[in-house]
Amino acid sequence: MNALVGLEATPAGGVRVLVSSTDIGQGTNTILSQIAAEALGLEYDDVSMAPADTSTVPNSGPTVASRTAMIIGKIVHTAALKMRQTLTESGLLEPSAGREEFLAACQTYRQRFGELKCFSRYEAAPNIFWNDELYRGEAYPAYAWAVYIAEVTVDTNTYSVTIDDFVALQEIGKVLHPVLATGQIEGGVAQGIGFALYEKVVWNDGKMLNNQMTNYIMPTSEDLPPIRVFFEEMPYQYGPYGAKGIGELPMDGPAPAIVNAIVQATGTSFNAIPLLPEDIFRVLTAEPDRPAEDFFSALAAEGSQ
C-alpha cells in the first residue's frame, strides 16, 4: 500500500518526523520518535512529530490495520538512514559520527542548502504483492500471533459470567515500548471482554436503539479481571528493529476464549455474542424440542392458558 514518510531537520536544532499516520492513543508518536532517534543516533527528545496535517506531511496511508508500527515504523527507519546518508555524501558527516556531530551537520546542511528533508516510500517485502488500483492483494507482510486464556465463573442462579483471570501472550516481533505495548494489549482485551459479555447493539429499522452509555454497557473499572500480558519476541526482518503490529489482535482473540470457557463451564455451546445473563439463561433453560428464541413467547402462551 502506497505510503510516503519524511524526516526533516528543524531550525530549532532537532529532527521532525513527517507522517500522516495519526496517534489516537496507541502511542505511535512515541514509537516513531524512538525509531527515528535510534536510527539517527539521537536522544528521544531530539525528535518531534509534525502535526498530522496534510499541508505539512506526506500521505503515509491510513492509520489502520495495525500497520503503523510495522509499516510506517520501517519507512521512518529507512528515511532516517537516508538522512544520515545524505549528510555523509555531502561530506558534512563522518559515517561513525555521534549525536552532536549529526545535529551540527544538519544545521550546516540547512544553512547551505535551505532545508534538509528526506523521504522514503513503502517497499513491499519480497514475495508480497499488493495492487493499489484494485486495492487487492497482500497489504501486510507479517502478522502478530497470540494465545488468550480466560478463566470464568458462570453463576447458575443469575446466569451472569465473571472473568476471574485473563492471560494474553503475544508474539509481536519486537516490543518497542513495553509500557505502551502492554497497555495497548490490556485495553484491547478489555474491549474484547466487552464484546464477549456486555456490548450488545440492538437494531431497529437500521438504527441503533441503545445508543447511550446508559443502555450500551461497556466494562467499567469494577468489571474487569486482572489482565496479565506476556510477550514473545521473534524479530521480523522487514519490521523496524523486528517489530510487527499489535493493535487489533487483542480484540480478536479474547471473546472466543471467553465463550470457550463458558462452553466448558456449562457444557452447552453458544453461537452468538455478547452473552448477557439473559442470553445464557435462554440457552441453558431452552427445552430441546423448542427453539430457543421462542422460549419467552412459549412461556407467555403457557401462562395465558
Binding site: I24, E186, Q191, Q212, S221
Partner: protein, 168 residues
C-alpha cells in the same frame, strides 16, 4: 441567535482559586460554562448524560459530572478542574504517576480520571484494589482496560506515603 440580556444571570464562584463571575443562562451546564465561557477545556464531554465521567470536576471538594450540574448550582461554590490541579511548573503527583505508569492512552478520560483519583486518594490515602475499582467506577475508559490506571493510583499512593504527605 437571539439573546436577551434578561434571560441571562450572573453567577459567581471560585475556579481553581480565582474568583469568577460569569453571565450565563441559569440552566447552562457547568461543563459548557467551564469550557466555553472560561476557556477551561480540560474537562471533556464524553456522553453528556452523566455516564462516563470525562467531565469530572470537584465542586466543594466533591467529584461531580459537570455535564449534569446546572451552572446556577455552582453559585458560591469552590470549583477545581484539571487545570487547577496542575502546578505552574511540572506536574501534579497524580498526573506524574499516570505519565510514568502509562495510565493514559487517547487521553479523553484522563482529566476526569485524574480528578476522580484525587478524590479517591483524599478518602483513602492507601486504597485497596477494591476501593480503587469503586472510586473510579464512574469514569469510563475505552483504551487502557484500567490496569495501568490502577498501577498509576497505587504508584502515587506509594510515593505520597513515602513522602509522608497526602494528595491535596
Amino acid at each position: 441567535m437571539s439573546e436577551t440580556a434578561a434571560s441571562r444571570c450572573e453567577v459567581s464562584f471560585t475556579v481553581n482559586g480565582a474568583a469568577r463571575t460569569v453571565s450565563v443562562y441559569p440552566m447552562e451546564r457547568l461543563l459548557d460554562v467551564l469550557r466555553n465561557s472560561l476557556g477551561l477545556t480540560g474537562a471533556k464531554e464524553g456522553c453528556g448524560e452523566g455516564e462516563c465521567g470525562s467531565c469530572s470536576v470537584l465542586l466543594n471538594g466533591e467529584l461531580v459530572n459537570s455535564c449534569l450540574v446546572p451552572v446556577l448550582q455552582a453559585q458560591g461554590a469552590e470549583l477545581c478542574t484539571i487545570e487547577g490541579l496542575t502546578p505552574d511548573a511540572g506536574l501534579h503527583p497524580v498526573q506524574q504517576a499516570f505519565l510514568t505508569c502509562g495510565g493514559a492512552q487517547c487521553g479523553i478520560c484522563t482529566p476526569g480520571m485524574i480528578m476522580a483519583t484525587v478524590q479517591l486518594l483524599r478518602r483513602h490515602p492507601t486504597p485497596t484494589l477494591e476501593q480503587v475499582r469503586e472510586g473510579l467506577g464512574g469514569n469510563l475508559c475505552r483504551c487502557t482496560g484500567y490496569t495501568r490506571i490502577f498501577h498509576s493510583v497505587f504508584e502515587v499512593a506509594k510515593t505520597e506515603a513515602e513522602k509522608g504527605g497526602t494528595v491535596a
